[in-house]
């Protein structure tokens, strides 16, 4: 293999890993909230973008380091999630068929946020990016990988593993999965279902915010990532199986690599088309997805 081919291969691999990890994170956040609270968050792409944009504001306007901005955004994000849960989300906990109502509510949220972004950030810049957290470049053979991107890759994968461990081994995680499986049974066993709903909404949303920050650290972005991310995250959730974090991981990684490969010779819209197509196929032929909860 020539150096050039190795370069392309390694570049694709690293892009695939980073994108895959971020996709998986966001999709995991969306699927946790859907599986537990029955809330399909159509505005997940907007949440994603919100985190990136606010982080950009902190670094560009206030001159903070990306590190500080990231932490600030996460803290604010957790606060925002609690606020949203308190004002809007908890109103539907006892409604039957609330997944449609939630979907519509989050579509409304999408419109509101799109409007706000048009009035603000769209006027300030076309492209946004965050200053790197660490400088320097590491060489993987002939392939130069910025340490910043390497950090993003490592952090994303670490968070994914931590999330997985949380759900599998920690008591909160087990309570979450108990509610996933069967709310009534979990309630009978003494699980406070409403606080689990609250926790998983905050957890899921925070993961999405984190995904937004990590993405912004690795790549420059514009406002259209919101819409693209929403479609991608939903496609991953549906194909992977709503409520299945494993599904989000596997399908998310697959999509990441697909995107990396497709970008070599086609526009990203082609990838979006294929996600839509795949989601449609699964919805029509195997609505429960590829993996179980």
């Amino acid at each position: 293999m020539t150096d050039a081919q190795l370069l392309i291969l390694l570049s694709t691999l690293s892009t695939g890993l980073i994108l895959g990890a971020i996709f998986s994170l966001v999709a995991a956040g969306v699927t946790i909230v859907y599986g537990c609270v029955w809330l399909p968050n159509a505005s997940n792409g907007q949440f994603f973008l919100l985190a990136s944009l606010v982080a950009w504001t902190f670094t560009a306007s206030l001159g903070w380091s990306s590190w500080l901005a990231a932490i600030a955004v996460i803290v604010l994000g957790i606060g925002l999630s609690y606020l949203l849960e308190w004002i809007l989300i908890r109103r539907l906990y006892d409604t039957p068929n609330r997944n449609v109502a939630y979907f519509v509510v989050t579509l409304g949220m999408t419109q509101i946020m799109t409007g706000i972004f048009s009035l603000t950030y769209a006027k300030w810049s076309d492209q946004f990016s965050l200053p790197p957290v660490v400088d320097g470049i590491s060489m993987l053979g002939p392939f130069p990988l910025s340490n910043n991107r390497l950090l993003v890759m490592v952090v994303s994968l670490f968070v994914l593993v931590a999330l997985f461990a949380l759900l599998r081994y920690h008591p909160y995680g087990r309570a979450l999965r108990a509610v996933f499986q069967n709310r009534e049974a979990a309630a009978l066993r003494g699980v406070d279902v409403r606080s689990i709903y609250r926790l998983s909404f905050v957890l899921g949303s925070t993961i999405i915010f984190l995904g937004g920050i990590l993405f912004a650290l690795a790549y420059s972005f514009d406002l259209t990532v919101a819409w693209t991310m929403s479609i991608t995250a939903f496609a991953i959730m549906i194909i992977g199986g709503p409520g299945s974090v494993i599904g989000a991981l596997v399908v998310g990684m697959t999509f990441g690599f697909t995107q990396a490969i497709v970008s070599i010779f086609a526009s990203p819209t082609a990838a979006t088309f294929s996600y839509l197509g795949a989601m449609l196929v699964i919805l029509l032929f195997r609505p429960s997805g590829l993996f179980k909860r």
């Binding site: 997944n99 449609v100 409304g108 419109q111 509101i112 409007g115 549906i238 088309f273 919805l283 029509l284």
Partner: protein, 325 residues
């Protein structure tokens, strides 16, 4: 209420046909009125699917777009009259609507809504990325008004035509929901498993519903193109579907008056605001959330609930009197 429903309908028809006359002096108001009539036609169709069958078809605007673009193609490229192009384009759109809806027939609730959203997205992307018929994102301008006895149907005449079409749409829907087919729709909405167990052919009814609703979308889409004179993928995208849904939900789903009320109040707002698209999006988004969380029956639903509470109060009074005797 029932005794007067023919009177109410009569009044409604009369008012609808008089409004264009009232607005004919002012071009702006006449335009807003015309757009409201088109929206009313759309809202009635959306209500049929959402209110009566219980499914939320977010690809409604996309189907309207198929008809709109087809109509423009038929009149421009093939030289057809609007009055031939419009029905053919609408039937084409209805066929597309059924074809797209067919695979999702087994889906319910959220999955159906998500599927329809995906289909709408695909349609919008198709309008943008296949410019041969659609001229892509640039859109098609100078769409001619409908031909009319050698001339063109514009101004007061066009507004009257839109009023007639909207009223016809409402009356047809009012008739349909009282038929056995309409009853079947409601049964399917309430519990489709039970409905099927009672012998109702759920799949067949859904297909019929798709067809009729797509016709509403398509006819509206054709008139929209001929009225506004300019179409683009934006005119038939998901925001439009959501807005039409909002007219129905805000006004009161599963009623005949609901879409009329919702459209009458909400449809003129974007034109009267004249502001940035962004403000309209935000307002629309807020209304969507408010309606979903706090107004399940919409305005008309709240009115009906209030009236039945009044009726209970009245009958309680009667009971007390009986006891005294």
């Amino acid at each position: 209420m029932k005794l007067h429903s023919k009177t109410i309908f009569g009044l409604f028809v009369l008012m609808a046909l008089m409004l264009p006359l009232a607005a004919s002096g002012n071009k702006f108001f006449a335009f807003v009125l015309g757009m409201t009539f088109i929206s009313l036609l759309w809202a009635t169709g959306m209500n049929l699917m959402y209110g009566y069958v219980g499914l939320m078809p977010l690809m409604f605007a996309g189907v309207a777009g198929v008809a709109g673009y087809a109509m423009v193609h038929f009149t421009r490229t093939l030289g057809w009259s609007f009055w031939l192009a419009m029905p053919v384009a609408s039937l084409l759109a209805a066929a597309v609507g059924v074809a797209l809806g067919l695979p999702s027939l087994r889906l319910k609730g959220f999955y159906f809504t998500l599927c329809s959203l995906v289909i709408q997205t695909v349609l919008t992307l198709a309008f943008i990325f296949f410019p041969t018929y659609t001229n892509g994102d640039t859109g098609i301008n100078q769409v001619a008004p409908p031909d009319w006895f050698g001339g063109e149907l514009t101004g007061l005449g066009m507004d009257m035509m839109l009023a007639v079409v909207a009223v016809a749409g409402v009356l047809f829907c009012a008739w349909l929901v009282k038929t056995p087919l309409g009853q079947r729709f409601v049964a399917i909405r309430e519990d489709d498993v039970l409905a099927e167990g009672l012998g109702i052919q759920v799949v067949r009814c859904k297909i019929i519903a798709f067809f009729i609703v797509s016709l509403y979308a398509g006819i509206g889409g054709c008139f929209y193109a001929a009225y506004v004179g300019f179409i683009s993928p934006r005119a038939y995208d998901v925001l439009v579907s959501m807005n039409i849904w909002l007219f129905v939900a805000f006004g009161g789903r599963a009623t005949i008056a609901g879409p009329i009320i919702g459209t009458a109040i909400l449809a003129p707002i974007p034109f009267l605001l004249q502001d940035l698209q962004a403000f309209k999006d935000i307002l629309s988004g807020v209304l969507i959330i408010v309606v979903t969380l706090m107004m399940p029956g919409g305005i008309y639903g709240a009115y009906v609930a209030w009236r039945s509470r009044q009726a209970h109060v009245a009958s309680d009074g009667d009971k007390v009197q009986e006891q005294r005797v």
